[in-house]
Amino acid sequence: MSKLISADKLTRADFTSDQEVRWCPGCGDYAILATVQRLMPEFGVLPHQMVWVSGIGCSSRFPYYMDTYGFHTIHGRAPAFATGIKIANPHLAVWMVTGDGDGLSIGGNHLMHFLRRNPNVNALLFNNEIYGLTKGQYSPTSEVGKVTKSTPLGSPDHPLQPVPFALGAGAGFVARTVATEAKHQMMVLRRANEHKGATLTEIFQNCNVFNDGAFDKFTARDVKADRQLLLEHGQPMLFGKDRTQGLVFDIKSFALSIVKVGENGVTEDDILVHDEHNLNLAHLLARMQYPAYPVALGVIYSEERPTYDDVLTEQGATAVKKFGRGSLKELLHSGDTWTV
């Protein structure tokens, strides 16, 4: 139960429920929970004005641990519940948690329509490239050939990339971060919170039981500087330990390519500058995969457009303005009637 507190005195404890956290020891979900609980007080939203919605999966247990309103729903359908909550009460701050199975396998359609509709809801997709809760089957984001319980001979499907998928669906805000990078994650979630409209943040999260080390190749401490591109709007897209590598667009191959500043006459001015409002660029950044490219983290795309809840609210208001607040009596007597 939440205490009666004022928005400027919120602390992490105000967002921490009394429920025992039940993830496997070492699970990446803990780091996300801690970051979120530490971040939330910043937003000035009281716990009782916040709803966390989820589907089913390890990740989807998240709402139980937040001392806010929370709804742990059914597998894959969280975007629909979140939309329902938001349109029923647009004043609530609605956050959603889903997994790569929940959000992209059974729930891919809802997520897609959620993104194009654009309700003002923030969705976090915990991508561990595996089904955790059902004990280790491959997920839509697992790599081709993955050997799991359900694919002892290797998985046959081409993986889905969440961010390109979201952009293809018409998302207005897409970002990417890493579970264990608290600072970066906070930055990204702050941006998601500020954005008016549906946001999707993909969070690389390690499932140490069924898919341990899935992201080590670009998140491990010693390699990350060279293998991650930390995006900043308006800044040249440089990366590497000494920030000497950068992205340019090569018109010949019609693709991004990596150059070294200081070599072959390349200067920082030649490097592409990140423009998070450019959808064309976003598409290219979103699809960069290690080892050909560094993995792009941060806000990949953002575009404000009318939110679904605002449009519906406005339609209601316009209707009232036009017809007056509906009266049942008038309605029943409208059109052809006769009196006996």
Partner: protein
């Protein structure tokens, strides 16, 4: 123009007074039969007739002209007595083309009046309707009173002065026909003229042409040597009040608007289009100023989940669909059962299985409504039995859902949804308010606190300080609402969910008899849209002196408390259903009585005559 249509004193033919009549309009989808039918309906209603209508659409959107499957028909039964069905066999059949004749003739009473548009009986059209010979030219229609008119030509002549193209002029022929029918049944033309003026306000030429056609059709009755009689059907003895025509789908939509007003709680409709339920979505989408938000979701699953989300957020979640859509919603409804959230699910049933016969009616989702969920997921099921009752059933569904914190399935069907009847508009001030309790007290709060009497859990609304909580589809502890895997607790929670629903029996009216008295030889027990046909059939049997009663069940889960003793009072109980005997299964399993089934699954409502025959067969044998 309008004055020229003022009712003229009847001239030639004698006018015979009838109790009532059944008229059926049939023609090509493009012939405007639905409009003709509804104009005839409005005018008859304004005249004070009681009536029931049945639109009979083709499955195709717009089938090629002249085809058998492209025929669109509209039947109306109007009377100075109370009527309960659109009538078995029409007294008059209007056939605008050979296909309309072919597919509808079998309905017509022997000796009935058959009006055909002779112009349309071209070789091509006859072929499309699979006629080898022109039926107007052989003896095949001898059993009827045939009035063959070149309606097309007559219409063209009548509207010539407007200068419309001949194609546009041709489209007025349904109003010509309507004029003739108005003449035959002595109905005034004003209401239709007003309607035309409003409808085509932007096209005065079209208004004029249609009025000309209407008047010409009327005049045709006056002038030809019309050997058939002319009739008058006086007003019915309606109870005093203001009336309107209403279809089941419209009434149910308005019922939900009423529930929003009566409960002071807004409705959020999540829906996905599906025949024959879509019109409820369409209707509700018009009334955003009535405290309703409507959303066309990406599918039925999203629709129900959106509605449940809205319920969690403190609004009344509503979702509307038909059979295949209900199949998709079952997992979501199970969550509403488990989280005990108020939700109303409307199923406008259609003929199955699978896609089935989407435009045909059936009552075959009852067992799906009762049992179509994983695990033990009891919920209330109610069925509306007439267009007027649809209005009240929608309110009742919302009352039960919010009072008991439970999803409610409300059943109607395509026949009920599309059919219309005059309805005495209720006095809004006397409609009972729905008291919705939202929980705001942080003291000792947990989300599974229950009302001792109703067993409903509290409804704490996000946004309320002090009652933050988490719910979900996992089993929860009776005493704290936290997730619980405890064995005894699961039994207890299962028991209380069942008891809550069963307890609603105390809060609904006792089952009454529509006709007849308690303790007799035969009770005919119906549910849903079979109401009218059963009532009429039982009434006819009773007129013959048979000891038969009629009850129509509205509350199917739980049954009214007195139902078992009511049934026990009869030697036999017969349950007619438009399925393979689903209610019978439920009744038998609950009461273990040898209840008899009269199951018919033809995608069509029962005819009065077939019910009468069955009842008499049972009682006279």
């Amino acid at each position: 123009m309008a004055q020229s249509a003022a009712p003229q004193p009847p001239t030639g033919a004698k006018i015979k007074t009838l109790n009532g009549a059944v008229v059926r309009f049939a023609g090509d989808s493009g012939d405007g039969m639905q409009i003709t039918g509804s104009q005839f309906t409005s005018t008859s209603a304004l005249l004070g007739n009681d009536l029931t209508t049945f639109p009979d659409f083709p499955a195709e959107i717009r089938a090629p002209a002249g085809t058998l499957y492209g025929v669109s028909a509209f039947q109306i039964n109007f009377s100075s007595d109370a009527v309960f069905t659109p009538g078995d066999a029409p007294d008059v059949l209007v056939a605008m083309n050979p296909a309309g004749l072919k597919t509808n003739l079998s309905h017509l009473k022997t000796g009935g009046l058959l009006i055909v548009n002779a112009d349309a009986f071209s070789k091509a059209n006859l072929k499309k309707a699979s006629y080898d010979e022109n039926p107007l030219e052989d003896d095949s229609l001898n059993a009827y009173h045939l009035l063959s008119v070149d309606i097309g030509k007559q219409t063209q002549a009548a509207v010539k002065e407007t200068g419309l193209t001949s194609k546009e002029a041709g489209r007025c022929k349904n109003f010509w026909t309507l004029g003739l029918m108005y003449w035959i049944y002595s109905r005034p033309r004003e209401a239709t003229i007003k309607w035309l003026e409003a409808k085509f306000a932007k096209r005065p030429d079209i208004v004029k042409a249609n009025i000309l056609a209407l008047n010409a059709g009327h005049a045709y009755g006056e002038t030809i040597e019309f050997s058939h009689e002319r009739y008058e059907v006086p007003s019915a003895k309606h109870s005093p009040g203001t009336y309107r025509n209403i279809s089941g789908n419209q009434a149910i939509a308005w019922g939900f608007l009423a529930a929003a007003e009566l409960s002071g709680t807004e409705i959020v409709l999540g829906s996905y289009p599906i025949t024959p339920a879509s019109d409820v979505l369409h209707e509700l989408a018009k009334y955003k100023h009535h405290g309703i938000t409507t959303m066309q979701a990406e599918d039925e699953i999203a629709a129900v989940c959106t509605a449940i989300g809205a319920s969690y957020a403190g609004k009344i979640g509503l979702t509307t669909t038909s059979g295949p859509g209900l199949a998709l919603k079952t997992e979501g409804i199970g969550l509403a059962v488990c989280t005990e959230l108020p939700l109303v699910v409307l199923d406008v049933q259609r003929a199955g299985p699978s896609t089935g016969l989407p435009t045909k009616t059936e009552q075959s989702d009852l067992l799906q409504a009762m049992y179509g969920r994983n695990g033990e997921s009891p919920l209330p099921v109610i069925a509306a039995y007439s267009p007027g009752d649809c209005f009240h059933s929608a309110i009742e569904a919302v009352r039960i859902a919010t009072k008991y914190m439970t999803p409610v399935i409300l059943l109607t069907d395509g026949y009920l949804g599309n059919g219309a009847e005059p309805w005495r508009i209720p006095d809004v001030d006397y409609l009972p308010k729905i008291e919705v309790k939202k929980h705001t007290d942080p003291e000792g709060f947990h989300p599974w606190l229950r009302d001792e009497e109703t067993l409903a859990r509290v409804w704490p609304i996000p946004g309320t300080p002090g009652t933050t909580h988490r719910i979900g589809g996992l089993e929860k502890d009776y005493n704290s609402g936290n997730i619980s895997y405890d064995a005894a607790n699961h039994q207890r929670m299962s028991d209380v969910r069942a008891a809550k629903v069963a307890g609603i029996a105390k809060d609904i009216p006792a089952q009454s008899l529509e006709l007849g008295k308690e303790n007799g030889m035969l009770l005919v027990l119906g549910w849903g849209s079979t109401f009218g046909a059963i009532r009429e059939a039982v009434s006819r049997c009773r007129e013959r002196g048979l000891d038969v009663a009629h009850a129509q069940l509205k509350y199917i889960n739980p049954f009214p408390e007195n139902l078992q003793s009511l049934l026990a009072g009869f030697d036999r109980v017969l349950v007619p259903e438009m399925n393979m005997g689903q209610l019978v299964k439920v009744l038998r399993s609950q009461f273990m009585m040898p209840i008899e089934s009269y199951a018919k699954i033809e995608g069509q409502p029962f005819k009065i005559a077939e019910l009468e025959t069955r009842i008499r067969g049972l009682m006279e044998s």
